[in-house]
Symmetry: C2
Subunit: 361 residues, 2 copies
């Protein structure tokens, strides 16, 4: 029932291949022929059957983005940026949610889930170094985030340690000494939590401030709710606190909530800084300072790496770390109202991973 190239060809009095050539912008076509074909296409309302093209060309023009959930503002904004970056290059994006469940994340790598698209952008939250072997997959893959290092895959990470160091240093520079952390993961040595905590400790050491475990608040999931709970626990513990570094913005918003409940003045009594620089924190009350990890660049780099991996030849795996910066707002006393100050974070490094990719079948 649907119109095929065959039908267009017949109407225009040319071969199917000529229609294909017109549609695909092949240059050597007489103007009159091109016009006739285009008219036939219009008249018949022809639209290319993508499945047939995909089958023949062995390429779909789609990539899959796997994130924990779009309800988390950071991932929603990441998805936004990824879709834009892909669109600029003419690619479409399929989105799947893993809910940060280990099982579903493993399925992404096993490729057992519906296997569409030419490559996968994967932001794991549940997998860790024990799962490194699973990343040896036979399809183009780019990993986002800080859960897995050393995987045999291209990898785009944030400048976690330096970002966290700069955020903490920023608080110290304004005279704070009792800086609490919201969102630590006890015993973990990988992942954003560990890296950002390391940056925090480094900043303290740089300033000669002793590390006090009482100031470190644990939070498993990095949601607004857990940020609020952790902040409340810290406040109830009775430890003196004059600043808070929330390891992401969602928890910073939760912490703000908890501070408000106790009518604590920000930044008067306690200064607050987050991480991710999502849109929300610009409009919270008061606006919250944050570390901008360079979301657009992360997305653009990741899409670029993936497309290269899909279309290009075999090359060593690469790890890239976009530039980050500190955005100062009212919650750290850097600005009033909608004002903002920004400070660059010491750049991360771009390294080649010293392993070769498996030949992609």
């Amino acid at each position: 029932m649907p119109v095929r190239m065959q039908d267009v060809a017949q109407r225009a009095g040319v071969s199917v291949k000529t229609v294909s050539n017109v549609v695909n912008g092949y240059p050597h076509i007489r103007d009159s022929t091109r016009r006739r074909v285009e008219e036939a296409i219009d008249q018949l309302g022809y639209r290319m059957n993508t499945s047939a093209r995909d089958l023949r060309t062995r390429r779909t023009g789609m990539i899959t983005l796997n994130v924990p959930e779009l309800s988390l503002p950071y991932f929603a904004e990441l998805a936004d940026s990824v879709i834009r970056a892909a669109d600029e290059r003419g690619w479409s994006v399929l989105i799947e949610q893993t809910g940060a469940e280990r099982e579903r994340e493993l399925e992404v790598l096993a490729g057992n889930r519906r296997h569409r698209g030419d490559g996968v952008l994967f932001s794991p939250l549940a997998l860790g170094p024990d799962d490194l072997d699973r990343f040896d997959v036979d399809f183009p893959l780019v990993v986002l985030g800080e859960r897995v290092f050393g995987a045999r895959a291209d990898h785009v990470t944030m400048n976690n340690v330096e970002g966290a160091r700069a955020a903490t240093a920023h608080l110290i520079a304004s005279g704070r000494r009792r800086i609490a952390v919201v969102g630590a993961h006890a015993g973990e040595v990988i992942g954003s939590a560990a890296l950002r905590l390391a940056g925090y400790e480094r900043a303290l050491a740089d300033a000669g401030i002793p590390f006090d475990p009482e100031l470190v608040g644990e939070a498993g999931l990095w949601h607004r709710s857990t940020g609020a709970e952790t902040m409340a626990r810290l406040l109830d513990s009775g430890t003196a606190i004059d600043a808070v570094f929330a390891l992401n913005d969602a928890m910073a918003l939760g912490a703000l909530h908890a501070l408000h409940e106790r009518r604590i003045d920000i930044p008067g009594d306690i200064a607050l800084i987050g991480f991710d620089d999502v849109d929300d924190v610009r409009y919270s009350v008061p606006p919250i300072s944050s570390v901008d990890p360079g979301r657009d660049e992360i997305a653009r780099t990741a899409v670029g790496l993936l497309v290269e991996r899909i279309t290009g030849s075999v090359a060593p795996f690469r790890r890239t770390v976009p530039d980050a910066r500190i955005v100062g707002r009212e919650s750290t006393g850097d600005a009033q109202g909608d004002g903002e100050t920004t400070v660059a974070v010491r750049p991360g490094r771009v390294e080649d991973i010293a392993v070769s990719p498996l030949a992609i079948a």
Copy 2:
């Protein structure tokens, strides 16, 4: 290079079709045969070529969701719900962003954009009644939102009028009389703005409170920033105000920001209610009351309608309106801290649209 059914068939000593039958769960297969095929699949690491299957079956198992942008929390949460609903039924979701640009929204309907997937879920923000004809498309389409009524397509809308009426009535019930509106669109008779304003007016009328145009604040785009600006204008105008109805939550958050800047007490001086019930408002300071339009049900219904339209026979177009409810929080004095009260909104109606769909080619 990649493994085909052919290769599996050879290894298992059966025909290609038998492999296909095993993969697709065709029942009449000897156990021993099935086992041999499955072993061959494992050994060779076979994975179905989806393009070939899609071509043959004339179905891709994907739908496209077109939204303005995922950075807007409402649409991020909608996308989350849509992906979940689709996943439950075994469908994948391709997401495209229109940026609320008229041109791009028209392209969605023209089908000129890459045309993949079996159907489209479309949430327009720029199109209006003038574009009704464009909705006569030759692919399965379900429209979301309030921009277009009477289009020849299935349609899922929010219970705008009743939701807005109930929100306003809620403020009135707590003794407010000078209720400002943030986000009106002057002169528009369609779209969320007009419908929600109508609900507002109806509630005033019900309570015998005169409508005062000075209380109505315009805002073109419904962002946090415009909410803040509009709120500021209203406050600066000098009109007495004891409550604010922001026509969506993003603007409610912006309004909150503006109120905070002037150190106005909420709900002491001014009560505040929004619309959409996005996650953010649960954790703002203070938490903001809102109208919950039933996001999950909207998504589930929309996906259901679309899948039916794709797989099913021709049937009259349907319009559905999920149930909404008022969620009372601190900003209207209904609860303290994380507390919530809920009140059902008078149900919307489910109607058949009195036109038949075009035969889907």
